[in-house]
């Protein structure tokens, strides 16, 4: 498979405030690549720079060094004004915070990208409705974000990206705020959707089980300044039964090896 997205020697430090010591490197010489249609999961310690990494891939934040190559084109990463957030809707991004528009209802938030891209019609509307049903938000369409629970907001923000079907989706702990049952449900839904469309997904999580259950490949990041600590090809055959994955013989071995690398 050809590399769709390549991160080469990426480094990042934030501008330091006046009167403070120079800010530390958050990411240092990070390199990896993502193949077309691959499901890559990334685990790493909290504060390690995972969100920062996704922000740079989505082009909403600048890099301090290295490059990010998407479809053989290198992104201009130095200057905030030359960034192209989402690369013309080719890269979807489900952020760690839900970032819903508080003055739009659940449904209006889900329809927002379609409206913004001028693709709102009966067909896409129906698709949005079916996604709302799929994640169990039926009956809550007319509620404003502050009237929804944290998990419901998370699901709304997830389908707000799924609804316009970008070829690459970055997800930052999308299932962090939901209960174990819903979580497994959402993971299965995500796998099903991914199987249908074979999107490229870069999925950040704290949960090693989730990382193994979903992925073709799992990347483990080090502590700050983060770089790649290890890489694991997940060969558990698909379609997978997430509820039974814990008992899979390969799983136990993978889990042990990954946990040893996550400090």
């Amino acid at each position: 498979m050809a590399a769709l997205l390549e991160v080469r020697n990426l480094s990042k430090r934030f501008a330091s405030r006046a009167g403070r010591e120079p800010s530390p490197w958050i990411i240092r010489d990070l390199s990896f690549s993502v193949a077309d249609g691959e499901f890559l999961t990334i685990v790493g310690p909290s504060g390690g720079g995972k969100t920062t990494l996704l922000n740079m891939i989505a082009q909403i934040d600048t890099a301090s060094g290295g490059e990010i190559v998407f479809q053989s084109k290198s992104a201009p990463l130095g200057d905030k004004t030359s960034l192209k957030p989402g690369l013309n809707c080719q890269i979807g991004y489900v952020t760690q915070e839900d970032n819903l528009l508080p003055w739009r209802t659940c449904l209006e938030n889900v329809l927002f990208p379609l409206m913004a891209q001028g693709r709102l019609n009966d067909e896409t509307r129906a698709h949005a409705q079916s996604l709302i049903r799929a994640v169990g938000l039926e009956g809550w369409e007319k509620h404003y974000p502050h009237e929804l629970s944290g998990g419901m907001r998370k699901r709304t923000s997830l389908i707000r990206t799924l609804v316009y079907d970008p070829p690459v989706i970055l997800m930052d702990e999308p299932f962090g705020a939901v209960d174990a049952q819903t979580r497994v449900q959402l993971q299965e839904d995500l796998l099903r959707l991914w199987n249908l469309g074979r999107k490229t997904i870069v999925f950040v999580t704290h949960d090693i089980t989730e990382a193994i259950a979903l992925a073709d490949r799992t990347l483990v990041l080090t502590r700050q300044p983060s770089s790649v600590a290890g890489e694991h090809i997940i060969t558990i055959p698909r379609p997978r039964d997430i509820r039974d994955i814990l008992t899979h013989p390969e799983f136990v071995d993978l889990y042990r090896r990954i946990r040893a690398q996550v400090q």
Binding site: A58, I60, P85, G86, N88, C89, I91, G92, Y93, T95, E97, N99, L101, P102, W103, R104, T105, F112, P113, A116, Q117, E138, G139, W140, K142, H143, Y144, H146, E147, R160, T161, Y164
Partner: protein, 273 residues
């Protein structure tokens, strides 16, 4: 019935809150009566050539309402304040939105705009009359300027306050800059805008009245000044009362619009009183 519908049909207001509503009303009426009594007492002790008797003010109000004088003067003042308000308001909203796209220009002209806030606008009336003649134009300039500044400053601050992450995500989702202005920034800055408007409404009316002291033969300002020239203290008080009523009505309208535009905001019962 879905869970959401069930939640909506539950009784929302406990009795305690209703009781508090009543108490607040009683308190408001009580304060009004105290104020009226103080006014009457002031009129009696200072003499009616300084403070008009509240009951005579009321009688005069009824009288000019009957002759149509009230409606005519109110209309003139309302018209000029509304037009001036609309002009100042439009400029105060459009300019910050335009500047948002030109950060370098903004940095260059911001200190000048902020410095011009300090210019005493009323002091410009004679110049406006000199430049634009004795008609509506100097009045509109004065009102427009007085409305412009609070609106401009609050909208400017509102635009700056918008959560940058929302802007980033809206861009990732494919929104163009103009759509972001309409869909994200507009909503986020509305509370700021309305606090600017609440300052501007009484300003617009006072500016109209002051302009009418000097220019023209109609309007509440003219009515007050004319009454003063004839030593008619009751007339002056009537004019002031009408001006206050005008501001109150415009403010109520504003609050109503604000509520409709921000129906999404979490509502605080205690502030709803």
């Amino acid at each position: 019935m879905t869970t959401a519908e069930q939640a909506a049909t539950l009784p929302a207001e406990p009795d305690g809150i209703k009781w508090r509503h009543v108490m607040v009303r009683v308190g408001q009426i009580g304060l009004g009566l105290v104020f009226l009594w103080l006014w009457k007492w002031g009129a009696n002790s200072a003499g009616e050539s300084y403070i008009a008797d509240p009951f005579k003010v009321w009688d005069r109000l009824i009288e000019i309402a009957r002759t149509g004088e009230l409606a005519r003067h109110t209309y003139v003042t309302l018209r000029i304040s509304a037009i001036g308000f609309a002009i100042g308001c439009a400029a105060g909203v459009v300019l910050p939105f335009a500047l948002r796209r030109m950060p370098r220009l903004t940095d260059a002209i911001e200190p000048y705009i902020m410095a011009s806030v300090g210019v005493p606008k009323y002091a410009l009336i004679p110049l406006f009359i000199l430049w634009f003649g004795i008609n509506d134009a100097p009045k509109l300039w004065l009102i427009g300027l007085l409305v412009f500044y609070p609106v401009f400053i609050s909208v400017f601050a509102g635009i700056r306050s918008v959560d940058g992450r929302l802007l980033d995500i809206a861009r990732v989702l494919g929104a163009s800059e103009s759509r972001i202005s309409v869909e994200v920034i507009w909503h986020a800055m509305l509370p700021f805008f309305f606090s600017g408007l609440k300052i501007s409404v009484p300003r617009a009316v006072s500016a109209a009245i002051i302009a009418e002291f000097l220019v023209g033969f109609e309007g509440i300002g003219f009515y007050i000044e004319n009454a003063r020239q004839q030593m008619d203290v009751t007339g002056a008080f009537v004019g002031i009362a009408v001006a206050i009523a005008l501001v109150l009505v415009m403010n109520a309208l504003l609050v109503w619009i604000d509520k409709r535009l921000s129906a999404w905001r979490p509502m605080d019962r205690h502030m709803e009183l």
